[in-house]
Symmetry: C2
Subunit: 340 residues, 2 copies
């Protein structure tokens, strides 16, 4: 079956698979580049203001970014930067792809990586640059967590990059694991200060844990992103026993707190413009029980939120799946970010 | 300047750069799959016969390949296999991409990786599967060397994968480093026995050290490959002081022996059909002094061998360069491998 299915959720089924009616569904030399910060920007997020309020970073000083690498790719430049994050209290890396011949402020698409990834993974393995160059979109992809060493007991969470893009409240994580504020406030401010982006044209996407990050970012900031998309996203982490173990490290045992960072729970209270959601998941994804896509679809349906959901036969959770469908995600975002 | 330049070498210059007139030029579980060997195949290479003559491998027994990974990608399957190589006296891995819906024996394209690569690098970072799927070409990409441990003194060569796709004659390398025979005889035999390939439609390509491997394979086997292409290939290794250090490990100090494995030297004696050569090199390639492309172009010109040479402004030696131009290499090979 191809094409939309009714109710308020638009389903697109491919490859012959059909959902049931219940909706089951670093090497180069490092040199320093100083960018002039043009103005002090207001920061909407209260947590971000709390974290940055007493720091130099927000006081209109020069923003220092170190160029880690800079490679020509599809006519543009694939760059990686390193900087000190005031929100994360740590040195961070992020990647930026800048298409060539941008004549005016360009739309910007944020990509959030999954567990075990870094800022290198998406830029090396997805092939997105072909489409970013085609549409003239600047693409920003940060590392998935600060690479702080919190001791032997916590090594696995850090090594796996399991930030879940939340703001942790429990020690020792609360000092460095504030990825929600970093992704939604500090990083966009740095991008807007240092690159020729149109801040009114931004979208967000992600893979797996990063898909969760993209969805909660869009749901918690109505109107901020023109579109949101995700490949095999974690959709209902508060109901996954495996993910709860991590979230308890950040929030303690209170389920209500976890639900504030869960897209399936957040859709119920969403009041804002169309989210323009696109999701792909592999039918053979071994992690699908932890992803909770069916619950998300049910919640969207109940809340009257439209989403294009695609279950792809034979595909799994990895980067071969991502590289196959990345084109469709860029076509999707371009509809909302780019002039026709 | 765009378009061909005369003499016998066709140059295509892009991105505004102009050559001077002198041509300066997994994680998944491993399970065993047994393939039926349909027949004993003749092996043309004498060295290969010598190496395999006394072994079970050539005696029409079942060829055992272990599936290391198998992922859906662009509608086909990206697979990695492990097997015991009789030529290399070691366990080897190679990758095979099989497009979907192949209705008859498919053309096959061999890809040889560069230093520091493995069978994973090209399949993860180049994005070639889009074009292999588009044209219906089976693509085979082996690891760049056997992962044998030859002791502390030789660790660097093995760790860097510096096989150079030659048959070493000096100990300790001669026992395992017979990559020329592996790539030109044992591996093609395995592929022809176990996959639905058209053995009359095969081509070869490679990157850097693998570009050298592709060029010498085509030059030493007239008519075997319908086309050959290379990205930033090593073209004149016998004249590169850095590469000579490696080649001396394999051959000793005799320059004449090294020249038998050097494409710039081999073109002078080439007697065979059109090679259909396509080469891309980045103008900003930091290794270009070691690549010797200018010498290769001069030798081709002298020998009357046509080649399409593209120097791409701003590009370097890495995988962002490869992913940008891989499309052109598949268009090139498809002209000679695929029905229109």
């Amino acid at each position: 079956m191809r094409g939309p299915l009714c109710f308020n959720i638009m389903y697109i089924f491919r490859c012959g698979y059909r959902l049931s009616a219940v909706c089951p569904s670093s090497g180069r030399a490092v040199h320093t580049v100083k960018f002039q910060q043009r103005r002090t920007r207001p920061h909407q997020d209260q947590n971000f203001q709390r974290l940055c309020g007493s720091r130099q970073w927000s006081n209109n000083i020069e923003q220092q970014l170190k160029v880690v690498s800079d490679n020509r790719c599809f006519g543009g430049q694939q760059k990686v930067y390193e900087h000190y994050s005031a929100v994360l209290n740590f040195q961070m890396r992020f990647a930026v792809y800048v298409p060539e011949n941008l004549e005016r402020p360009a739309p910007v698409l944020y990509h959030l990586g999954g567990m075990l990834c870094s800022e290198q993974t998406f830029i090396q393995k997805s092939g997105f640059q072909r489409w970013a160059a085609h549409y003239g979109i600047i693409v920003v992809s940060p590392d998935v967590c600060p690479r702080v060493n919190l001791g032997v007991d916590n090594n696995t969470i850090e090594a796996n990059g399991e930030s879940y893009y939340v703001n942790a409240v429990k020690k020792p994580w609360s000092k460095n694991f504030q990825m929600y504020s970093y992704v939604n406030e500090e990083l966009p401010s740095i991008i807007q200060e240092n690159f020729n982006v149109n801040k009114d044209k931004q979208s967000i996407m992600g893979h797996s844990m990063g898909g969760h990050g993209a969805l909660i970012s869009a749901l918690k900031n109505p109107g901020k992103f023109r579109s949101v998309s995700a490949l095999a996203p974690v959709c209902n982490p508060s109901q996954s026993p495996g993910i709860q173990v991590i979230l308890k490290c950040y929030f303690g045992d209170d389920l209500k707190t976890m639900e504030k960072w869960d897209s399936t729970c957040l859709v119920a209270d969403y009041k804002g413009p169309e989210l323009n959601i696109l999701i792909h998941q592999g039918y053979n994804d071994v992690h699908k029980d932890d992803l909770g896509l069916e619950n998300f679809i049910s919640a969207c349906k109940k809340a009257g939120i439209a989403a294009s959901i695609n279950i792809e036969e034979g595909y799994d959770h990895g980067f071969y799946f991502i590289s196959t469908f990345i084109e469709q995600h860029y076509h999707h975002h371009a509809k909302f970010l780019c002039d026709s």
